[in-house]
């Protein structure tokens, strides 16, 4: 078992006016892979260090399997942690790095040997057991750090941005390796990262943090599709969600969104979702919800999912597998990014008809930035 529950966790560093972590509450089920995601300085690492017992808690509780561990020293929490820098002991070889934590726990020499060699075999480190960390590649060091956590057989794994020191190619393979290992071992894992790709691909659930607070918790795709506010909307997704200031107008039983000089009539079925909503709002459009080519019969909202918008191409960014278009709407100053197919013939300066998927629109309150409605 390894159920982690955090309740009202707060951290205030001495000499700092504002709390680094504010009233964070979340629970991680046994065997679950929870990702704490957020930009630098959002407090995610502080939360992790408080769970680990490396940082005193200002307020709130951390419980493991129902037992509050606030006052329990790090070594007695039965938690293993993988650090961003790997924190391998430079004066010890790989074998001793793996065995160091076990020796302190009074485990028999034969069992230590068995566990170390078992973990080394599992992680492909068997040939390097006598090497010192400086003689290993980045990927190998990362695996030693993981191995050091695995041999402990803890209740909970904590990862603090463990892939950020690897190059792009190695990051992908190591990410997949980590997912496989966690799936096989099935130990509760809390993983801190600022990389949304890691969060989307690795976690059973994502906890998004901003300015020390939890903004949204949920499965990756749910958080991506239903962002709770503009921060989540912009933070998840690359390129980020387009946000445009629009006016909601009602006319003759239909609802229209006024974007600059253009008025988009929304499908009749969507008017229910916007019932009673009028005035200025923020419209969120994911770049992949803008299309260069619309379906046949497009242009009549009652028949289709998309509406055509006359736009001017500002820039074209071919990425190989796809192309990003930077566009501006007539009468609207904000730029919009669209992710379209790689075969586009559009060039900067072209006038284009871009089709907006009206079933994937997000409306946010400009004052609170929280989501109002999703079509």
């Amino acid at each position: 078992m390894g159920v982690v529950a955090i309740n009202g966790l707060t951290k205030r560093y001495s000499g700092s006016g504002e709390a680094a972590v504010k009233d964070v509450s979340l629970s991680v089920a046994d065997g679950e892979f929870m990702v704490l995601l957020g930009p630098s300085g959002c407090g995610k690492s502080s939360v992790l260090r408080m769970i680990a017992g490396l940082e005193p808690i200002t307020a709130g509780t951390v419980s493991i399997d129902g037992r509050v561990v606030n006052e329990v020293p790090a070594k007695d929490r039965d938690i293993a942690m993988v650090f961003q820098s790997y924190a391998l002991y430079p004066h010890m070889d790989v074998y001793n790095n793996l065995a160091f934590g076990l020796r302190r726990r009074g485990i028999a020499r034969a069992e230590i040997d068995e566990r170390v060699r078992g973990a080394a075999a599992k992680l492909g480190l068997a040939p390097f057991l006598e090497r010192k960390p400086h003689a290993l590649s980045g990927g190998q060091r990362q695996r030693v750090a993981l191995g050091r956590a695995i041999v402990r057989e803890p209740k909970v794994f904590l990862f603090d941005e463990p892939l950020s020191n690897l190059d792009a190619a190695l990051r992908v393979t190591t990410r997949n390796e980590l997912i496989r290992q966690q799936h096989e071992i099935g130990i509760t894992t809390i993983y801190v990262t600022h990389d949304q790709v890691e969060a989307m691909t690795m976690g059973h659930r994502i906890c998004i943090m901003d300015k020390g607070e939890v903004v949204q918790i949920g499965p990756p795709l749910e958080v991506y599709r239903h962002p709770a506010n503009t921060f989540v909307a912009r933070f998840l997704g690359n390129p980020p969600m387009n946000l445009l200031t629009v006016e909601i107008e009602a006319a003759a039983g239909t609802v229209r969104l006024r974007l600059g000089a253009v008025a988009v009539t929304l499908p009749s079925w969507s008017t229910r979702a916007l019932d009673g909503l009028r005035g200025e709002v923020l419209l969120g459009i994911r770049p992949e919800d803008l299309y260069e080519v619309g379906p046949p019969g497009d242009g009549r909202p009652e028949n289709g999912r998309t509406v055509p918008l006359a736009m001017r191409v500002v820039a074209v960014e071919p990425l190989g597998a796809e192309t990003l278009l930077v566009l501006v709407l007539d009468g609207c100053e904000d730029e919009v990014i669209a992710r379209i197919g790689r075969e586009t013939a559009l060039r900067p300066g072209d006038e284009a008809t871009i089709h907006l998927d009206t079933t994937s629109l997000h409306l946010f309150d400009p004052a609170t930035t929280r989501v109002i409605a999703r079509l």
């Binding site: 260090r49 680990a52 017992g53 490396l54 020293p73 790090a74 070594k75 938690i79 293993a80 942690m81 650090f83 961003q84 820098s85 790997y86 924190a87 002991y89 430079p90 004066h91 160091f100 934590g101 302190r104 726990r105 050091r148």
Partner: protein, 280 residues
């Protein structure tokens, strides 16, 4: 034909540097070589031709200095005082440096300032009070008293060097060891000390050289001939054997030999320790 031209230019560019190094080596190494040749010559030979190379190597002068001129006693006194002081300095200094580098406690900056400010006090300023304190504690004219003074006097510099090195050891290593279940002292013993070996070598070598040559405290705090350290012995030799330049040179070589041996063994590690972290 282009390559030799480049190397010639490089050679010309290097000439001033080589000239400077040559002059510097002559200035620093010349006197040493001169004393080394004199140590193997007798005083009449030296007076006859001060700069001549030995016509015969008088190795027996070393045995004579060691036995008849009390250099053996001075040497062992120096060994006892310096080895003990360096050992204590290393252990206490490393513990103190580890604390200053790792822990932030109330008043830690003040403690650090007070300890490290010990470096700026000149020995001449403290000699009178030290003399009085050692007399009060019955440590005047004892090797133990000199050891205590040496440890106290050089702790600041030792901690300063070690703290700079220890502070560069990533905090993650200590956190990892804490999660592995090790206590604060075990972390110091099993993580800080082994990783800090280059810095420890630096302080050991530096302290050994400085204390081995230390004169002021020794001359004030020791009076008995059988308690004198080597630098005092050399001075005493100058007084009691007026103008016996040959024997004086032999005594100087006995004094210098351990330092040269130590430096030859650890100079590389010492430089590594002093420059660690300078280039990331």
């Amino acid at each position: 034909m282009e390559a030799p031209a480049i190397s010639f230019v490089a050679y010309v560019r290097r000439t001033p540097l080589l000239l400077f190094l040559l002059v510097y080596t002559l200035v620093t190494g010349g006197p040493f070589l001169w004393v080394a040749t004199m140590s193997l010559r007798t005083t009449p030979e030296i007076f006859a031709a001060p700069y001549a190379f030995p016509s015969r190597f008088h190795w027996e002068k070393f045995a004579e200095a060691w036995t008849k001129s009390n250099y053996g006693t001075y040497f062992w006194n120096s060994m006892i005082v310096v080895v003990t002081a360096v050992l204590l300095l290393t252990v206490i200094g490393a513990m103190g440096a580890h604390c200053l580098a790792r822990y932030r406690f109330r008043g830690s900056r003040l403690v650090r300032f007070v300890i490290l400010s010990g470096m700026i006090l000149p020995p001449q300023l403290m000699i009178l009070s030290l003399f009085q304190i050692l007399r009060d504690f019955g440590l005047y004219n004892t090797l133990t008293g000199l050891i205590v003074v040496y440890v106290a006097g050089h702790l600041a510099m030792t901690m300063y060097i070690l703290e700079g090195f220890f502070a560069q050891i990533p905090q993650d290593l200590f956190d990892a060891a804490r999660m592995d279940g090790y206590s604060d002292f075990e972390i110091f013993w099993r993580i800080t000390l082994p990783i800090g070996v280059p810095a420890l070598f630096t302080t050991v070598t530096l302290n050994f050289i400085i204390l081995w040559n230390e004169f002021l405290y020794a001359v004030v705090l020791l009076t008995d001939d059988d308690k004198r350290t080597l630098p005092l012995g050399v001075m005493h030799f100058m007084g009691s054997h007026q103008l016996d330049v040959g024997m004086l040179a032999t005594g100087l070589m006995i004094t210098i030999a351990p330092i040269i041996l130590l430096y030859a063994c650890f100079s590389e590690t010492m430089i590594k320790g002093m420059t660690a972290g300078a280039v990331r």
